[in-house]
Structures are given as structure tokens and as C-alpha cells.
Symmetry: C2
Subunit: 369 residues, 2 copies
């Protein structure tokens, strides 16, 4: 049985405020009626009209006429084949032409958005971190599994390659070397013979890039084996062959929660030249119940700084550049660590994110001599 899916089309007109609601209704209703659609009209005293048109084939349309000249047309159709699409485009074209003929002088704007697919087998809508609606060019669900920790999806984008989406958040696409380079210090660091600790990073991108640079030893601590399993199979442009084994000449991958590992290293006095936190985005909520998230972030930061050599560097991603409040809160955490730190930040365009992203470099404040 074919999966149920609908297509929602819109066509909006902004007319001058003096436009006559009932004239608009009268001008357009025949178009729907000619399609054999059944009309139901509701009118408000002060809020204009809603006309609903129902088609025998299961599709329907709303014509909502607001006072002051806003006219919104919605067509929802179950029939998602090419013929059905053409029919709806034809209907919208007719409406647009009619409005242009009847209200020519009073049209301020006509807007037709790309139709929205609803309930499709492949979900192409993955809003940005700052809450904007964006449609991706996704054409295949490559991997979709629930691990004990999160939902893991790998979806194929025509332009970005495979995209890793963890619990609904776009994490990294095969196009996103810019992300990996930014969280490694944007090419300004020398990793040769260095000790590196990666927190998270299950897609393998950071590990793959650093291993190329002849480090002494890279330890990656990723809690979710299933992320590694999915990425080593479907994100090979990102991770190469580095996840095929959990141990290599100059690296090891620990499948563990990073908190106890960090505590163990801190206790043992084990130190790193670089700690790269690739765990999670900064939470955007500032409500009291979220305090624990910031405490968790601070715990990670404190432990990371503890295992950092005096001249070591801590790299992490921050958030999208528009979430200024969350970025400020993050920076406040940096001023509350057990030892004083300084930081710099950089704004980077990560192709698959569709928004600019902030990356942080943190280091222990040098004591003035």
C-alpha cells in the first residue's frame, strides 16, 4: 500500500486596504465551482470570509478573505501524482489571473510558496537552530534507528551528500568539512606529535582529519556505538576508514560516557594539548528547569580545562549566530570555571546548516610574570 502523503499549496494576495471582500469572493468562487468543488461559506461581522471548497477526490481549498485586503488561498491534496500537481498549479494560475484582471490596480504583492509536502515518507523539513523553516533536497532515508540515547537518521541530500541528524538536529553532512576544520582551530594549529582528546565526535570527521596530521595519540570518547556504526557505513566522505577499527596506530575510540573518563584522566593527572568538545549544541532555553543543562556544560568545561596542558587549547562549537542570548549565557559559564580562562570566537558558514555558526577557542589565562 502506498504511504499516505498530502501536498499543501498556498497563494497569497496583498491588495490595497480598500479592497471589497465580497467582490473578491464573488470574483473567485466560480473558479472553484467550475472544478466541481462544493462551497461552504462562513462570514464574520468584522473578520471577512472563509470559503471552503471540497472536491470529490478528497482535495479541498480554503479561500480566506481578511478585511484590509489580505486574501489567502490554501489547497490541500491527497493526490500527490504529477497529474494532481498539474491540476493544482492550473487552479492556482486561474486564481492568480482572475485576481490580476479584477483587482489589477490594487495588488501590492502576490506570493506563491513552493508547495509543502506533508506526511511524506521522506521528511525534507529540518528547521534551523533559530527556528526558521527550511526545506532540504533530501531524496533518500539511508539510516533511521533509535539508539538507547537518541534517534539517529542519515538522510541523503542531493547537494550535501549524506546528512547525520541526531534527534531532529542537523549534525553534519558530508559537505561540511568547514565544520570539522573550524572545530580543529581553522588550520592554525600544529597537531604533529600532540595529545588530543575528542569528546563525542561519533561521525568520525574530526578523528579522520587529525589522524592525517601525525598526532602522538588521539583519544575519542563517544557514548553511542550506533552513531559510529551508522557513520562508518554511510558517512565515509567524512570519516574515511578511521571508524572501521576502534584502535589505530595513533588513535583509540572509547565507547563511553565522557564524564567518568574525564574524571579518571583528571585524577590520574593525564594532560592533553587539545581537547575538542563535539558533544552538543548550547541549550537555547534559559528557564530555571534548564539550569542543570548549563551545570552539565560547566562540568564538562571544568573537567576539560583540568586535563588541558598549561598551553593547551579547548575547541568547541557554540550555536547559530542568531541565538545571541544562548551564546552570552555560554560565555558567562566560561567566566565561572574553577580556573580563569580566555576565549575567542569565529563565525563559520557550514554548508548544510543554512545558518552561520559560532565556534569557540578556550585557553587557560596565562599568569602575568
Amino acid at each position: 500500500m502506498a504511504a499516505a502523503a498530502a501536498r499543501h499549496s498556498t497563494l497569497d494576495f496583498m491588495l490595497s486596504a480598500t479592497a471589497d471582500c465580497s467582490a473578491i469572493l464573488k470574483g473567485l468562487q466560480s473558479i472553484f465551482q467550475e472544478q466541481g468543488m462544493t462551497e461552504t461559506i462562513h462570514s464574520w461581522k468584522d473578520h471577512g470570509y472563509l470559503a471552503t471548497y471540497i472536491n470529490k477526490n478528497g482535495s479541498f481549498a480554503n479561500l480566506r478573505i481578511y478585511p484590509h485586503g489580505l486574501v489567502l488561498v490554501d489547497v490541500q491534496s491527497y493526490n500527490n501524482d504529477v497529474k494532481g500537481r498539474d491540476g493544482i498549479e492550473h487552479l492556482l494560475n486561474q486564481i492568480e489571473e482572475r485576481v490580476k484582471v479584477l483587482f489589477h490596480g490594487s495588488i501590492k504583492r502576490v506570493k506563491r510558496l513552493p508547495a509543502i509536502g506533508r506526511g511524506e515518507a521522506i521528511d525534507r523539513y529540518w528547521p534551523t537552530a533559530d527556528g526558521r523553516l527550511v526545506e532540504y533536497d533530501i531524496d533518500e532515508v539511508v539510516y533511521d534507528e533509535d539508539s538507547p540515547y537518541q534517534n539517529i537518521k542519515i538522510l541523503h541530500s542531493k547537494q550535501f551528500g549524506n546528512i547525520l541528524i541526531l534527534s531532529g538536529d542537523v549534525n553534519l553532512a558530508e559537505s561540511d568539512l568547514a565544520y570539522t576544520q573550524a572545530i580543529m582551530g581553522s588550520g592554525k594549529e600544529d597537531y604533529t606529535e600532540k595529545e588530543v582528546l575528542i569528546l563525542g565526535g561519533g561521525d568520525g570527521g574530526i578523528l579522520y582529519e587529525i589522524v592525517k596530521l601525525k598526532p602522538k595519540m588521539v583519544t575519542m570518547v563517544e557514548i553511542d556505538q550506533m552513531v559510529i556504526d551508522g557513520c562508518k557505513k554511510y558517512m565515509r566522505k567524512t570519516c574515511g576508514d578511521v571508524l572501521d577499527n576502534l584502535k589505530g596506530e595513533c588513535y583509540q575510540v572509547l565507547i563511553e560516557d565522557c564524564i567518568p573518563v574525564l574524571k579518571r584522566y583528571a585524577k590520574e593527572g593525564r594532560m592533553f594539548d587539545y581537547v575538542i568538545n563535539d558533544l552538543t549544541a548550547v541549550p537555547i532555553s534559559t528557564s530555571p528547569e534548564e539550569d542543570s543543562t548549563w551545570e552539565f556544560l560547566r562540568l564538562i568545561l571544568d573537567l576539560s580545562v583540568k586535563v588541558l596542558k598549561p598551553d593547551g587549547k579547548y575547541f568547541t562549537q557554540g550555536n547559530c549566530v542568531n541565538l545571541t542570548e544562548a551564546l552570552t549565557l555560554y560565555e558567562e559559564q566560561l567566566s565561572r570555571l574553577y580556573c580563569p580562562v580566555e576565549f575567542s570566537k569565529e563565525v563559520v558558514c557550514v554548508p548544510s546548516y543554512m545558518e552561520l555558526w559560532v565556534f569557540y577557542t578556550v585557553w587557560k589565562k596565562r599568569t602575568e610574570v
Copy 2:
């Protein structure tokens, strides 16, 4: 008077195919009724239900229940204040909770998209070249004028700075130095003491960057004075002060159609080291009536190659990487010029485009000696 604007919210459920349509309707209708909304139900024999709920305040909701478990909720509201928004979020939360209680075991997916603003004074929806719906973080209309050639908008994006939009196409944002660098040859060219011709380029970005590189002479031919007027005022991060005068020490700007200028130069035997075509995107239509567009493109190409020194280079932007058919057609034109040429292409991430973009380098084929 406040401008008319509406807000369209959606909430979609994919339930297992055995879900009972009338049970879903019965389970949800009380939520709408508790809001004082008036119900109208239409039922199809084979296509499920459409329930329309009308509120006294002018807002309304559709509950469309398709067979095989697709349930789509739409709420459209005229009342675009915070209180109204909260009310709708609350309504959608109630529906989501109820569905989760009643149909817990059969929910395959729940999807709530960011609400769509319709008829707002600031239009934030500018689809990509490959036809995807994307919402920009636009918060101000900086400039909006019709020139004799096109509609010119400059809109302010929180993250990208001001964005130039020509007849609905996103052209360039202040964040998009990557575009200018790509169409100049990605930093691999030496412009010192070179003769450069820019076709179009009214935002001044290319001119501004090349003038920094001590060329002998840059000639820019832009047809639309109003683009220059808008950009020199509102795109200063892109063009600096280079458009403040149409003539500088090593550049001149001609406000002219580039075709007669190219013909004049070709006739005079005037030659350039670099010709940079920043005119228009490749047309995506391949229908017969569009033949003239390709002929126009080929005319520009032929004339440009004519005024190119034997070792000169022609740079241009192509199209978004997904429009492979248009790209292929463009490359076919390159094989049909008056003299044989070779070309290379590069895919670049231009921040404000929200899609990867192809840039071309074209040069005269060297004759084997």
C-alpha cells in the same frame, strides 16, 4: 492602520494505517469545541474527514483526517500578537498530547513546522534556485524600488547583513565574499597591472575587491543605475566606497547595456586579461520559447571571448549545483562558440544562497604547436 498579516501553523501526525478515522475525529473535536470554535464536518466515502473549526476572533482550523493514518491540522490566525501566538501553540500542544494519549502505540511521526507568516510587511520567504522553501531571518526592508529593468530589494538579514534581491532572486548578501572570490578565480589569479572587464556587477563587490589588487584598468558595464544607487548606500560591506564615484584611478563604471559595449570593443580590437560575467543566472527552462535566452547567453559568451587576450580568462557564475540540466545546457553553449574554448568548474558555498553554487572558468583552447 496596521498591515494585514496572518500566521499559518501546522501539526501533522502519521499514524499506522489501521488507525480509525472516526475515532480520531471524536478524540480531537472536543479540544476545538472547548475553545468555542464552531464545527463543520465533511466526510467522504473513501477519503476520510475534513472538520473546519471557526473562531469568533477570525481564526480557523482544519482537521483533515485521511485514511491510512495521516492527520493534518492547520490553524490560520489573523491575530499575530504574542497572546494570539501563545494561544495557538497551546491549542496545538493540547492536540499533540491528546493524540499521544489516544493513539500512543500507532504514532509513526509527529511533525510541527515553524509557523508561516502570510501577508507580512516583511517577506521572509525567498525560495532557492532549485525551488525549495526557505525562510530567511529578515527583519527590515531597507530598499524596495522598481527600476526600468527590474525590481530591486535590499533586505536586512540578522546573520547575512543586507541582501540584494533582484526581481525575487537572491543576488548577494554582505556575508557573501565567497561569491566574489569565486567569480574572481578563487584567489589563484594575479590582477596586478591587468585589464579587466566586468559585465553587470552592480553591487560593486567584484570591482571593490579587484581595485585592491592594483589592476591597470577595470571597466564595469552595468545597465541599471538604480542597483548602483541602492548598493552604494546599503551594501557598503560589499562595495566599500568604490561606487561613490563612477571613475577612479584604475577603474570606470559605464551605465550601459553591455552588448553594444562588447561589440564596440570587439570592433576596436580592445582586449582584456579577464572578463567577469556577473549578469544573470542560467535560465532553467529548456522549452523552445526560451531558445532566445540561450542565444543571448551565447552572444555574450562569443563577444566576451572575442575581447579576451589569447591567455585571458572568462569567469562566470553558473547555477545551483542541483540544476544539472541547466548546467549541462550551459556547457553545451560553450562547445558552440565561434572559437574553441575549454572550461573548468568549481562548487562553492555562498552563505546567503542556502544551496551550493557552480562557478565557471573559460579560456581559449591553446593550439597545439
